[in-house]
């Protein structure tokens, strides 16, 4: 087996171990949290104690925790993630729908943040003395300092509620499912995506901009850049042909981890914009002590994080010849 393949295989095995550990930790941690899921549901529903006991037995929640864990692992092996205590739906159905929305939001936010961050950071780093560059950097830093929920509420209140330029929340207008063409529905989806994606992108973009600025400034001092200037190459040309690419590896790791972080971690934005992603699903499931949904969602998030990390490594390997050489 080639070195490259064995390296990838080793990373995959490592990722699987991490995901297993994360799922196990979540499984047992949820059982330690006070509150019985069926008692919570029964309190709302007025179910009698004996009926609750019957339901507990039906769902296997009367078994010892270790037995429940074994049962859960064997379920995963069969592709059965269980059913939600809240609504009885299959966990894989709920999580699949949530992950689609999270990926859509995550990809959009990642792309926006990367473009914004690389652009502003590069300009700030390359034309460091320019007032416009410094101003744009300061604006992004200010946005980075604003808590995410404040930014989300501010954007929603002004752009959506006051001016009516965007919807106040949701994924799409359900009426258009019946009255609109495919093009209308796509435009509607993108229209709903703008505010939550921009909210996330502004914070992450600022972080990327700071990193990119530092990376570009380091490159400015490199001998090959001075040589290019000495040869009379125009500044913009030097930046785009010689400086930009070497600066990118510094942020690849950040970008590679951004998507997984957004998939499970954009809870605040999802709740404010009613975006039905994995983060809000997890929060609601934890509050309801819906063990099966929490376990299923954490399993998927773990896999996405592992894949994202692997993808970042592969990208770095492809982007930076020094990394390839080090592993040759």
């Amino acid at each position: 087996m080639s070195h490259q393949r064995s390296r990838i295989l080793s990373r995959v095995v490592h990722a699987a171990a991490v995901v297993t550990a994360s799922v196990t930790l979540t499984f047992f941690a949820m059982r330690l949290v006070p509150g019985d899921p069926l008692e919570l549901a029964a309190e709302r529903a007025g179910r009698t104690a004996s009926a609750t006991d019957a339901l507990r037995q039906q769902r296997g929640l009367n078994l010892p925790v270790s037995a429940q864990y074994v049962r859960y692992l064997s379920g995963i092996a069969r592709g059965d993630l269980g059913t939600s205590i809240g609504n009885g739906q299959r966990v894989e159905t709920l999580v699949a729908a949530a992950i689609r929305h999270s990926l859509l939001l995550g990809v959009a936010a990642t792309v926006l943040a990367t473009v914004l961050g690389v652009a502003v950071g590069s300009v700030e780093g390359w034309w460091a003395t320019s007032r416009a560059a410094r101003f744009s950097g300061d604006v992004l830093t200010a946005l980075y300092a604003i808590p995410e929920f404040v930014l989300a509420l501010a954007l929603m209140f002004t752009l959506a509620y006051t001016f009516g330029w965007f919807p106040v929340g949701g994924v799409h207008d359900p009426i258009l499912q019946y009255t609109g063409s495919a093009g209308d529905r796509l435009r509607d989806l993108l229209w709903h995506l703008v505010l939550p994606a921009v909210t996330l992108a502004l914070g992450w973009g600022a972080a990327i901009a700071r990193q990119q600025r530092r990376a570009v400034r380091d490159i400015v001092a490199e001998p090959f850049v001075r040589t290019a200037f000495a040869k009379g190459v125009p500044s913009t040309h030097v930046f785009l042909r010689h400086a930009l690419r070497p600066s990118l590896p510094a942020i690849v790791a950040s970008v590679g981890l951004m998507l997984p972080a957004l998939v499970g971690g954009a809870v605040v934005v999802e709740l404010i914009y009613s975006w039905p992603g994995v983060g809000s699903l997890l929060v609601q499931a934890i509050a309801a002590r819906d063990y099966a949904v929490v376990n299923g969602a954490m399993l998927v998030v773990g896999i996405v994080v592992a894949l994202g990390s692997l993808a970042a490594d592969v990208l770095l390997y492809w982007l930076d010849p020094r990394v390839r050489a080090a592993h040759a």
Binding site: A51, Q58, D173, D188, L190, S280
Partner: protein
Amino acid sequence: MRTTWTAISLGCAFLSVACSTPKDATGAGSVSGVLTISTPADADALIPPLVASTQGKQAVDLLFDMLAQPTAPIETVGDNGFRPQLATKWTWSADSMSIAFDIDPRARWHDGAPVRARDVAFSYALYVDPAVASPQASTFDGIDSVTVRDSLTAVVWWHARHPEQFFQVAYNLSIMPAHLLDTVARATLAQSSFASHPVGSGRYRFEQWTPRQALVFAADSANYRGRPQYARVLWSIAADPNAAALRVLAGEADVLESVRGDAYPRARAAANLQTVSYGSLDYAFMAFNFERSAGAARGLFTDRALRVALTQAVNRAAVVGNALDSLGNVALGPFTRAEPTVDTAMEQIAFDSAAAARTLDSLGWRVDAKSGVRSKQGRPLQFEVLVPSSSATRQRVAVLLQAQLRALGVQLDVAPVEPGVFFARLQKGDFDAALNMWRSDPSPRALRQVWGSPRGRDIGGNFGRYRSPTFDALLDSASRTFNAADRTQIFRSAYQQIVSDAPAIWLYEPRNVAVINRRVVPTGLRADAWWAEISSWHAGASTSSSKP
């Protein structure tokens, strides 16, 4: 370079396409014939026996018919307060131990099959089957069986007579199709295909359910009770109550069932919205734990005089005004003004801080000059109140109570806890006092299940483990009394008993104010089910549909 410009171009294209969505192709109500309801939570199930949430109840009530429909205000004794729905008429047996319901021969399931008496018997069996574990199974206690006399006549039999026989079956039994459900394993009903694509006989049929996003019903144009006005009813599911309110205020939905906080003045000021008040069955209270055996409050609340003094120390009108402004009334007890048996002029424990202070002094609770907190034989008059962190109103109320009681020398510590922990501690009795909220039932009999003395592990809503044989006896007696006037009188005696016993400080009754677009003409908003007459709602004369 090319890559960068390509990325920038794509981003601009994304934004321009996204921002070019024509406004009139979106938003509720901009398309006629669709009624959009903004709701803060998803339905939990679409099969009636499995429903535990309000949103689920709203959905199944549109999809499935009952044998008869209550009129407003609800009358739970006898059958005068009901009009025919699935049953065209009903006949009581001579001994009143059974009622025969004649099914409307025109009634059809949404798949075209006729509704039959067999469906009534099947539906009852489904509700009470232990394998289904329906949270509503206990509502049918006392019913012996449901039999089929002929294809269009179902007979409900009781073990014994009681005044609410008709209400018990007509109000609670949703009729489901036996021909579609009788082959489904009861234990896996929630995972069946019927659960995700239910078939009923109501004026609306199921169209689509996108969990956590939207639930859509379409008008059943061939329905035996006539086609409803709106072509579709759509529940637009938001992440929380604030998001749900914002959708209506922004013109993206037509109906919000209950407005809170600063959304209320905005709704009142909006030219395109109307606010509609309707009765409430909710009440909030600070319950005392009678069986607290540990901590600062151990055994504290077994003394009625102390409980009364604590109640007298609280200016409830001020608390409600501060916390809820005009969106709440002072609670009368574990019941609300919307219930017909309630006497709003009943005797209450009035606010009287001077009397409270005298009572505490006489009980030996003297104010410590240094700390300002009362104590008795070295034990401070101090206890903790649990508050669910999810309720901003109750947290605000807790702080107000803290200040008022502190003025009397009572140390109240406020402990906000996560809702799951809140309920877990209530169940275990691991609390001193708790700020809870309950929704009462149209039937005052239900008060026995909620506040009656605990029966084994079933404590209902009586987390404080209040016990009063007198209260229990009055409720039992009232529940068996057929004469309406006598029954009301006995219930009022029971209400007076529990109010006088002060097992809780009855705090507030939230006012239900719905926000509805002026395009919509709503009818029949009942306290127990504001949605009950949605199939009769219609669009009014054309009015402004744009945001103010």
